[in-house]
Symmetry: C2
């Protein structure tokens, strides 16, 4: 059983990105610049954005944080986004979710210039992914694809069962894995809350992407011998022995499932670290105008 070490791989890719940014600097080019917009003081959001800013620093990507008070109007935020769209010093930017209730996230999303949408959430980018055109792929699906690519996991002709149809994970990864590409060409079954015969389907899978957000729902009896299992779940469960008071639990019952697998991601240290890489890669892409 091969452990797909996302932490180690993410560190390797960070080094590669750092080298590329360094070369851009040495050649006198413009250093990539990411902006992050955050509205309010949500603890989780601040932590996430903090990680992203730190990752930028590590690889030499410039970053700017725009934190606005929770009470700002929707109109105000939309104007700020227009400014970021027009600011040629900013290559790409993200708007951290969730937003306060009085701000419509769809309106905000649609205001972002797709060329600067390094989160890959704008419908244009989603549509380009579907059509196989150059696009920003969102963090988690791109992280999974990189993991598959670097670990040389064969996908062509494999039956891949994706569990969970969210817009940020299940849906896009199901599209990518079934598309005509080196890390695609799989036969993909997309399962979700309305699926009646989940176990029957996962038992047929050569590759399982577990992205339902339900801790340990994928048990040993649901997986066939030799399967590859990618665990996208990161539910916080209380843990008094941990400094933070919680720990992350994946969607996979690791102890039962791992012995049957040919390869599996741990939680934490699997898909998680790969998602930040994705944002760095997209920012680099943006600075090179590869998705214009």
């Amino acid at each position: 059983m091969l452990l797909l070490d996302g932490k180690k791989l993410a560190d390797e890719i960070k080094l590669e990105i750092a080298r590329e940014v360094q070369q851009i600097k040495l050649a006198g080019g413009k250093v990539p610049h990411l902006a992050a917009v955050i509205v309010g003081n949500d603890g989780g959001s601040l932590t996430y954005v903090g990680h992203k800013v730190k990752a930028c620093e590590e690889v030499g990507i410039r970053s700017s944080l725009l934190q606005f008070d929770e009470t700002v109007t929707e109109e105000f935020i939309l104007k700020e986004i227009t400014k970021l769209n027009e600011n040629s010093d900013i290559d790409g930017f993200i708007v951290q979710l969730p937003l306060p209730k009085h701000i419509d996230p769809d309106k905000v999303l649609l205001r972002i210039d797709p060329k600067k949408d390094v989160d890959g959430f704008h419908p244009v980018n989603m549509g380009k992914v579907v059509l196989g055109l150059p696009a920003y792929i969102s963090a988690t699906p791109q992280g999974i694809i990189k993991l598959i690519e670097r670990y040389k996991i064969e996908t062509q002709g494999k039956h891949c069962v994706v569990v969970g149809r969210s817009n940020i994970v299940g849906r896009p990864i199901s599209i990518l894995l079934s598309s005509k590409s080196k890390t695609g060409n799989a036969t993909v079954t997309l399962c979700h809350s309305k699926t009646n015969n989940l176990k029957e389907l996962t038992l047929q899978a050569d590759i399982i992407i577990a992205a339902l957000g339900k801790p340990e729902f994928l048990t040993g009896d649901m997986v066939k011998e030799g399967a590859v299992v990618i665990d996208v779940g990161t539910t916080r469960v209380p843990d008094t022995t941990s400094k933070s008071g919680y720990r992350l639990k994946g969607d996979v019952k690791f102890d039962e499932v791992a012995p049957k697998c040919s390869a599996i991601t741990p939680v934490p240290g699997g898909v998680g670290p790969m998602t930040v890489i994705s944002l760095l890669l997209n920012t680099l892409k943006a600075s090179k105008h590869e998705v214009d």
Copy 2:
């Protein structure tokens, strides 16, 4: 076995559209207006566009045909599209494919204002379909969904196997059938040319969408008792007994498959007639600015 009569259903829906257009006229509103752009003299394209224009006439939708010589430049066509984008008298328009080789279809597509993209091919519309936002759905997938809706075919929790992953049929219908909606919530497996175990999968299907473009590839031994089969194939095969010299063949070996089905579409007269309806529905939507 229920025959899903697309011809009859399309006629019913045409009547409904005609009534709605009539009401708009009576209320003194702007009559919906579709434009179709065609470059060159391809016989097939002229026939297809002809059908579309005729369908518009039947329901009282205005239509304009812009036919340009095969030798016009890409720049010329892009300018014409900009004019159509800006012309407030035109609610929606389509550019008939294929285009001559010196014109890049992706460039043309991306130039179309998504709000007027009644073919639903622009990445924004594709992305909005993925995200479940109001959008133009392209002709064939929307036609299939209407067929499913009107014939009250239950999709929730059903295992639906889509064969073929084209951007205009297989891919979007797989997204629609697995999305959270009245005509969705199915567990969807998307199969294609790289699928190894096609028969094993189709035998599990409650619903099969055959959209591979390979005449009669779906045989009786590939279908379980009681399945619903939707045949999207329309390959022209020579036929000396027909006036046109050819006839349409579907992807399903009808004589073998039909007796096992609870419901099946014929070819011709199944999905085909439903696709033109789709364009009319989208033009009506455009005139009501429902996708802005």
